[in-house]
């Protein structure tokens, strides 16, 4: 009986923890919203986020008070040439986490008045075809960061590098 209670408590704590870890947007889970600190002189930034819709949805837009305009962009390498293109939406297949990340999709922040600084947070509104709009808080990581906690990586392999070794 005690054991049952313990496992029930564990399950409850776990459930609480998981729901707290990802803000719920209608039916879309939003996790790891982060942006890169902007180098001095830059007016353009990029924000990234991981999304998961249990039933399938589509990210169709974004806005934030820190930028005049926020657009969904893809970045591809075509024969060694880097190309960024605005996309109308990013599909979220049912149950599959979709990560916007360096070298893939990003939320392009254009006309950022005050360059984003490491450690800063700012609000971002994401718009979904079915789930509507949801606000999320974005944490600013280092300039050129490959993700929360990551230090650097190959230009095509975000998150795959081994941690940098200091000598």
């Amino acid at each position: 009986m005690q054991r049952n209670l313990l496992s029930l408590a564990t399950a409850l704590v776990f459930a609480l923890f998981t729901s707290a870890a990802g803000a719920q947007s209608g039916s879309v889970e939003i996790k790891d919203a982060w942006a890169r600190a902007m180098p001095g002189g830059a007016q353009t930034g990029a924000a990234y986020v991981t999304l998961r819709s249990p039933t399938g949805d589509r990210l169709t837009g974004a806005s934030t008070p820190v930028a005049k305009m926020a657009e969904l962009h893809s970045m591809t390498m075509d024969n060694g040439v880097m190309k960024m293109r605005q996309v109308e939406g990013i599909d979220l297949p049912a149950g599959q986490p979709v990560s916007l990340k360096p070298n893939g999709y990003h939320i392009m922040l254009m006309g950022v008045g005050q360059p984003l600084k490491e450690g800063q947070t700012f609000p971002l509104t994401l718009t979904f075809a079915k789930a509507g709009s949801e606000n999320v808080s974005v944490t600013v990581e280092k300039v050129g960061s490959m993700g929360p906690g990551a230090q650097g990586s190959g230009m095509n392999m975000p998150g795959m590098s081994t941690p940098m070794q200091h000598h």
Partner: protein
């Protein structure tokens, strides 16, 4: 259509058309062979074979992020990593410069033997002042270069770098651009490239080998 109906009536004409077509195909095949040859030589560039030494790089006259003239002569005397990009690029340019900075950090005392040159392909927006605060954000020995559109075009041509303006819906523009990092030796000669699969670790290992 006119050709084929005419050829049906005149057998010599038909032969002529066939001959011309064969000749045309032959020329196409020859051009393809040359192009494939050039492409494979370009692909070999990453192997540090030095086969493209003298073909990549060359004379250029730009200005640095202090507004001072900077020519290819400045590349002599130490190793340089040359990358073309622009400051309105939020993704690959900061990634590349950050990776280079992390790689150089791993070189210890040898870090001083390597410089990084970031050449803007967007001289309209990237003035020396804009570039200065941009490159300083990455720490390390990064020099930002810009110039007139013609000067930048000439430098890009020397380095076989492609770039093109791509208008965006909001009235602004992005730049498509080659994202290769060139390794130039202390004589200013092309030595090897870093490509999309390189990480700070592989870059540092490569540089250690080259620096000896």
């Amino acid at each position: 259509m006119a050709v084929s109906s005419k050829a049906r009536r005149e057998p010599e004409g038909q032969r002529l058309v066939k001959f011309a077509a064969l000749g045309f195909l032959g020329i196409l095949a020859l051009i393809s062979c040359v192009l494939v040859g050039i492409a494979s030589r370009h692909q070999a560039a990453g192997d540090a074979t030095g086969s493209l030494t003298g073909q990549i790089g060359g004379k250029f006259a730009l200005v640095d992020d202090n507004g001072k003239p900077f020519t290819d002569a400045e590349l002599k005397g130490k190793w340089h990593l040359v990358f073309f990009g622009y400051t309105h690029c939020p993704d690959i340019c900061p990634t590349a410069l950050n990776d280079l900075s992390l790689a150089l950090n791993q070189l210890g005392a040898k870090e001083k033997e390597v410089g990084v040159v970031f050449i803007s392909v967007d001289p309209e927006r990237d003035t020396p002042a804009v570039l200065k605060s941009y490159v300083e954000s990455f720490g390390g020995p990064v020099t930002g270069l810009t110039g007139t559109p013609q000067e930048v075009a000439a430098a890009a041509k020397d380095y076989h770098v492609f770039y093109a303006k791509h208008p965006t819906a909001g009235g602004g523009y992005d730049m498509d651009h080659s994202a290769v990092i060139y390794i130039m030796d202390p004589q200013g000669r092309f030595t090897a490239t870093f490509g999309p699969d390189d990480t700070p670790d592989t870059m540092a290992a490569r540089l250690r080998k080259l620096l000896g």
